[in-house]
Symmetry: C2
Subunit: 543 residues, 2 copies
Amino acid sequence: MITFDTHPDRYKHWQLTFDGPIATLSMDVREDAGLSPDYKLKLNSYDLGVDIELADAIQRLRFEHPEVRTVIVASLKERIFCAGANIMMLRGSSHVAKVNFCKFTNETRLAIEDASANSGLRFLAALNGICAGGGYELALACDDILLVDDGNSAVSLPEAPLLGVLPGTGGLTRVVDKRHVRRDLADFFSTLVEGVKGKRAVEWKLVDAIFPTSRFKEAVQARARELAATSDRPEHAAGIVLNPLNPTVTESSLKYSAVTMTINRDKRTADLTIQAPTGPQPSTPDEILKAGDQFWALRAFRELDDALLRLRVNEPEIGTVVVRTEGDGAAVVAIDRTLLAHQSHWLVREIIHFMKRTLKRVDLTSRTFFALIEPGSAFAGSLFELALAADRSYMFHDDNEENVVTLSPMNFGPLTMSNGITRLQTRFLDDPAKIAELAALDAPLNAADAEEAGLVTFAPDEIDWDDEVRVAIEARAAFSPDAMTGLEANLRFAGPETMETKIFGRLTAWQNWIFQRPNAVGDKGALKVYGQQGRAEFDWKRT
Amino acid sequence: MITFDTHPDRYKHWQLTFDGPIATLSMDVREDAGLSPDYKLKLNSYDLGVDIELADAIQRLRFEHPEVRTVIVASLKERIFCAGANIMMLRGSSHVAKVNFCKFTNETRLAIEDASANSGLRFLAALNGICAGGGYELALACDDILLVDDGNSAVSLPEAPLLGVLPGTGGLTRVVDKRHVRRDLADFFSTLVEGVKGKRAVEWKLVDAIFPTSRFKEAVQARARELAATSDRPEHAAGIVLNPLNPTVTESSLKYSAVTMTINRDKRTADLTIQAPTGPQPSTPDEILKAGDQFWALRAFRELDDALLRLRVNEPEIGTVVVRTEGDGAAVVAIDRTLLAHQSHWLVREIIHFMKRTLKRVDLTSRTFFALIEPGSAFAGSLFELALAADRSYMFHDDNEENVVTLSPMNFGPLTMSNGITRLQTRFLDDPAKIAELAALDAPLNAADAEEAGLVTFAPDEIDWDDEVRVAIEARAAFSPDAMTGLEANLRFAGPETMETKIFGRLTAWQNWIFQRPNAVGDKGALKVYGQQGRAEFDWKRT
């Protein structure tokens, strides 16, 4: 079983060092410490294990090191920055594993950009040598890219010409949409195995600056200081500690403090339940700091995030996740209000953005989510986003109208989806009047009202509830899992597209297609024969 | 060989009738007249041949019938509107054929929306009965959908639950992005084989109105008149005739009046050459009307459009198209200026939008385009869009600086891509100053200046030209065709996404992926076993 818990003390592939406001995150991949013994992680190439450490480092920099303003992403290997995803690993991976790997690495790179855009944490890629494929895509996620000018070191995206696949971590999208490299130059660059170096790399906007070897380190430090000056992170704050989550794991369940996931393998479903907070809650930044990672908003969403990640990589056959909440919705709304009242505080800001990223993880998980809103549930405010993120929601229409859902200000702004708008805006596309009407509500809604307001899909009464819910879940589980993945990937993202949704929509969908094609993965496919004797043989039909 | 030339007199599957400003385009598919004898086109189901007639009808309504303001899309079969794409046809089609079929049908439905948005031609879907899958997607492309309320007739998208694939003609995108059906209702609807009928179909925004059988015809006519009142088409204009193009066809070439395409099967390339106009050209709407379909702007682009379509369906192994122009660039610019000076005239408007749609067809053709700009070429104004649409352009840097490219106002607005912006805006993304600078230029650019301005990719001189161009074309032809398709589909569409690009990017890419998956097309795949004995068997892994 793959788990996502790690810590800088246990990193095998990265070193994290600190110098006041500047941290250096250095890649030094251990060849023999891949997740599988079937491949060697040569030349700072990576597998999912390497990326799990990277994701952990970025998270800890946000929560544990508020004093850090610039992160230099560097390498400890001489004249090698990073050779990208390990090709032997990709070759040996199943389709599902390849797709899941790309999804997680994409989320990690987007987390880098999120940290820069929303948390004042600048990232500087210091390319000291070979920077190919996923290595360059990691650099592309940074704010600034400096390349050593040694007559040899180049940036490249050799996937298409060498392996017959696309750069899978947003490379094509970021080259044209983020760095605004001209599309014809991008076309040339993306078909060039040897890449582009020196002055041309700057002229084409592939990197921001080049420096000779003798001045490289100094230039990196100087640029890191410049970037630090653009940050709004606090000067003398102390971070909190992100302790291990330590869920109780059985063959068919994961149990955290506020989150439980039960796997029903025979039905190919999972039951996911999130508990609302209980007892007194912190109401000031100081109290939140003191609560640290035990503060419900952070704790529950960290647990949810971890459960989703484990589900993705360890339970591929679980097609439907039934989401429930339990407890006091008013307590969730109270926490939402506390968070928003203090959102300018660095830690509160981090918590809100973490909740946002976790909910995006739901949107991007290729499993069906059905929310069941039953008496005793706590679908309120930020937890109600789970119902909005679900493909459908069923709300029990009870006679005494005690089963309610509640909106909070958290539903109207901070928790944006990848498409840049809120789940309510996506739900009521181009209907701002409807959103305004909902925002003006200041009371919980019973089932009839919630259905009338369009906040839930169906509201069966006691007579219908059991059958309707059971049939819906059973029917879903019987459909083609691929068709459901495609259906959900389209219906979940109504409205605008952003660089982020382009990476998961357009780029990922094409890559998944290519990852299935004999031209890549057949016996004579380019990904299969790379590094072996013989050349790839293609079916030349253009599709 | 599949060709695209047809005429209402020869339609097998549609009937086009006229009643003043209201035309009725009625589907009456001949079961035994499919493109292949392997399937029967039952229940108004369709194959590419049916859609070629539909595309022809829409085109002729724009050019030949300027008096028409509303098109009623109807059926002549009782209680059957359209059952969608023929499933036996899909089952028997190769992956390439399926993908090409979907691309063309998507372009045709977008042509309906283009006619409404830009040509004042309103479309009213009159659903007199069964309206499933592609049948409902055709309705979704119309401005208004009226459904008979007979207790039985429903709209449905049964592809996912029944066949394990997606609705492939924009259905999912249009449901949420055009009609703003709530995503959870869209999820439910898209998994419901029997579809949604009656009042619920209206409440969920799936259709605009329902009428009982007794009042249906009358209601359709009334609504058609209302829609006609919103049109700005001319009252008493006479159309022009779109005559057959009649190219000279050999085993390896297509020769039209202004367009030539030569197929080099051994190299897997095609040479595509467009001739600039020669001789005196019309300069007023009356002269353009008189010239009719022989006016260069319409004739050359119709020929280009036809050549692209034939290439797509008949020459799947031709991976690279080398685009050249010949003649007097100034003559192209002069025509561009004439068109723009009279763009409010109905025919001129039609010609400009047709040029736009043809150039979109280039963007959406999954073949590499390299433009070669050589002495004697005419890459000017609207023809220069071909260089901008190309994945790369090579401009011969001649010593005497006679080889030039020229911009015209046509490059700065009317010829938008599917992403809603011009090719220059896409090329210089987020750099309006650069666009303004180019718009202010009022002279042809030689190779050095064009390269400096970023208008061409490379400008090799006489010493390098032959080798550089040859190597580029040979290298391209050797790459994985799938990787090139994916690469181009990403790099060509920098910048914003629209409903149109979502259909070709997100939706199509997912559909292509599903079309490759054993869960759809394997021996036990849903698409393979539909209508046979036995049930589909799925690999349950979610991807």
